[in-house]
Symmetry: C2
Subunit: 196 residues, 2 copies
DNA sequence: CGCCGAGTTGAACTGAATCAAGAAACGTGG
DNA sequence: CCACGTTTCTTGATTCAGTTCAACTCGGCG
């Protein structure tokens, strides 16, 4: 029990790298944050649902995908531990999500519900800054990915991902990776053979 | 002169649609905001430069593009009047931009320098909220575009743009539109013929 | 042991890029 | 305001990377 108390909260660690979080503020935030566990293939959110939470990924991997036609899907984002996740566009507008958010391996998250966040904006000055930082973080991820889609070819994107997340890449089924870098599983299989 | 005084500032109008801006706060912000004019093909920012400002587009059209190889370029964003612009990723990180930001017709902007914004975060409570709203706005644009790239075919993207911005689309050279939609100018030319 | 999903490999097809050339539009200076 | 030159757009022919379809292998799990 004492060990748990001493261990710094992973979300606090994440926030502390981006802004200064004093004990007073943290003690107001901390009780609002709930842990959730997801099994492989569990959904954090399905298409048509409205996102009510922002998730911080303590461990695991999340993918975002949309459905095209009856049986095809396109994975357009993959999020790893120590990143923020959730259908943030649905969250901001409180409109139904056009895509799915799914764990692709067992995943542990910490999340704020939206009502809590909005109340905190009023009550705790730092919350507003957290809101801004959160959004900036998510913006940068999207901007980076957008650029990589324009700057690099599929095989280059694969190699980039490989050098950025060598440890994780093995845990992601090839079919999701393929979709993420913008080709069919067959094409990625051939890319792999070519570069090996 | 009196007419000018009475006319509501276009940026204030923009902000008021998203949060309440009292006269007191506005009077602190207003003197910090500078108008700038750009001619056709002027650059708001070039690759390698660090973005120091956030722009609000009063009128005109802006495109974002990266250079590939020696002579090829890819337009990945087009921004119209009453939207925010600038290399926001470069701005947030204060790192050199990987892309260019350019006016494709005569354009009038209002902009905050970054130092002012950061000072305002401390001094004017509402500034923090403006920072958040700004970021949310820019995030939603990116998220929307990302989805449209996955959900729709190039000709559908063209038609969507057409129905969203019929007035503006004529003012954008086809080669930029083509790139934005994700095809070559030749291919877009053929799409046009096909749907007409 | 046999099934099923995932990955690999092969062959044929296809849609868009590229190469090339001509037509139209644009703007710049005389 | 016209004439020339440059840029943009269109159209055609060719090429090619990646998709699709299909068969086969591999590995985990009931």
């Amino acid at each position: 029990m004492d060990e748990l108390k001493d261990k710094i909260h992973p979300l606090r660690k994440f926030l502390s790298l981006r802004l200064s979080v004093d004990d007073e503020s943290w003690s107001r935030l901390e009780p609002q944050i709930k842990q959730q566990h997801f099994k492989r293939n569990d959904f954090l959110l399905k298409q048509g649902e409205v996102e009510k939470k922002i998730y911080f990924i303590e461990s695991g991997i999340i993918r975002y995908f949309i459905q095209r036609g009856e049986d095809k899907e396109a994975t357009f984002a993959i999020i790893f531990e120590n990143q923020l996740a959730g259908a943030y566009d649905s969250f901001l507008q409180q409109l139904p999500s056009e895509y799915f958010v799914q764990a692709i391996k067992p995943t542990v998250t910490w999340s704020f519900p939206i009502e809590v966040l909005q109340r905190l904006y009023m009550e705790v000055p730092i919350a507003n800054t957290i809101g801004r930082i959160t959004c900036e973080e998510l913006f940068l991820i999207k901007a980076k990915r957008e650029l990589s889609m324009y700057k690099y070819l599929p095989q280059e994107r694969y190699l980039n991902l490989f050098s950025e997340k060598p440890r994780h890449i093995k845990e992601i089924p090839l079919k999701y990776l393929a979709s993420y870098i913008g080709v069919t599983p067959q094409a990625l299989s051939r890319i792999r053979k070519r570069i090996k």
